[in-house]
Point group: C2
Chain length 308, copies 2
């Protein structure tokens, strides 16, 4: 068959320094986190999620959030979101002059209660406060909708609920909702089904897709999303991270792997795969394990140079 | 978007006992290889490549080919191909009453010379002899066309050459050609381009696709193939194997990972993912390393039970 129509350009939102490092056991020094963020931005990533302004009692890896955020030399034109769970977090983000914040809701009631100790409705009320104050401060808000393709506790998540919550998050003021496969169970048919319902109500440019490669389907799901017209995807440099509260949430889609496929498809990203790979490799000794990215595995075996 | 039309049923050709074990350093006892083949057939795989009748000087892992092939209790309706490089190999296969043999040609001249020490034309002459004698003996012939999506030495491989060699292999008498991404470089756009050219000349039911997950793109490539109407795919239980002569050839697509996606898509395979996974796990201690299959990784982390 001839190639189906795909977007000419894709925006990649880099989540490694936050979603990735939040889930690593090792303590990474502030200076190294700052260097990681700066290297990823220099690699051409248009948005690099820097950190999370959360309670260090729950997420000790992000206790240095203020120092990391202040430490980053920002490039003009690059966004540097920070995750905020509530207005207190937003105030901390405003204190370091963050240009964008991210909020994090769930499509599964059980997951919401276990992950953020609130019902979905309670969390949306709270995020409404965050979004209103962010709007006054001129700070953009991005939203994650987690467990949109499956929940470790409730398993199936109704598509109607995903659509409803996406619309509510946009109505709160989010410029984009990252519809997220938190536990990496999605398959391309499900991606088409969810997007078929979502795109009947919401334009594609208000949506992103956030896949985990837990079962190896992440790039197939990206391909399904591209065919549906999606042009914004989350990825984590080196494949770092997951979610500490979700069984099976390991395996963020690696930025290198995503860029490899998009480069092959001739889709412009503005991102240098070599520079992303170098940024990940510089961080790898500090997390204490080999990077799960398939592209990095191929680099380690010396394979990639053969295709240079 | 609505789901595109996909085949209702897919045939999976299991290559783990041959392509997988051929590339493992560990010596696996005959009885364990036999049990592996039998378990995979019992899991519902319609074709299980058992072994290779090759010179043990070059491939010591297959020195037990006769004993393994004779040891397998065959199920009615299942195919048990064996790789044969030449007429001598075919005679050995006939000696154990093999029902099918596989031949192995390359789409890259350099790869052909380095892998099988012959030019492409020389190898096709030789395979013509194999196919003629196989036809007389009533044995089916399947063909691999390796490096069809890229070569570790020549890099790009012209699509016209892939089409020409596929037609020549079919003309020799192969019932199916497995168009193979030996080094795992393919991306879905390339799959569409290659199939666009191939399917203009050859019906889909004479073609299979053989992907490696070296860079994480295997399932995306399968999805692209399905959309083009392809319904025969190779996979290796547990993700075992690769090719010892190809830099970067590690990373056969795991049967479990393929079945996970096809199950999700509602495409019938007749294969039990649990039984394939159990067969791979039974073999894992004998190869001395964790299985690379993503589904197996998720099982090891205890993730999969949550989606049961």
């Amino acid at each position: 068959m001839s190639r189906p129509a795909l977007p000419a350009r894709v925006r990649i939102v880099e989540v490694g320094p936050r979603d990735g490092l939040q889930n690593e056991a090792a303590a990474v020094p502030v200076a190294d986190k700052v260097a990681f963020v700066e290297a990823l931005a220099a690699a051409g990533l248009p948005s690099v999620e820097v950190t999370a302004f959360v309670n260090p009692k729950w997420v000790p890896q992000m206790a240095d959030a203020d120092a990391v955020y202040r430490g980053v030399s920002r490039r003009p034109g690059t966004s540097y979101p920070a995750l905020v769970p509530n207005v207190a977090g937003l105030e901390r983000a405003l204190g370091v002059e963050a240009d964008e914040v991210a909020i994090f809701a769930a499509a599964s009631e059980t997951f919401s209660r276990r992950n953020i100790n609130q019902s979905i409705d309670e969390s949306l009320d709270r995020y409404g406060d965050v979004a209103r104050r962010a709007a006054i401060a001129g700070v953009r808000v991005r939203a994650y909708l987690s467990t949109a393709f499956g929940c470790p506790y409730e398993h199936d998540v109704p598509i109607a609920r995903v659509v409803d919550l996406t619309e509510r998050l946009l109505a709160l003021g989010a410029y984009e909702v990252a519809v997220s496969d938190t536990i990496g169970v999605a398959h391309p048919g499900q991606v088409w089904d969810v997007l078929d319902a979502l795109l009947a109500r919401v334009p594609a440019d208000r949506l992103a897709l956030h896949f985990h490669d837990t079962r190896g389907t992440a790039l197939a799901n990206v391909l399904a999303g591209l065919q549906a017209g999606m042009a914004s995807f989350d990825a984590s440099a080196g494949g770092l991270g997951g979610c500490p509260y979700a069984p099976g949430a390991s395996g963020n889609l690696a930025t290198e792997d995503l860029v490899y496929m998009l480069d092959g498809l001739g889709i412009e990203t503005g991102v240098s795969i070599e520079r992303v790979a170098a940024a990940s490799r510089a961080l790898a000794p500090l997390v204490g394990h080999a990077l799960p990215s398939r592209y990095q595995q191929a680099l380690r075996r010396g394979d990639v140079k053969n295709q240079a």
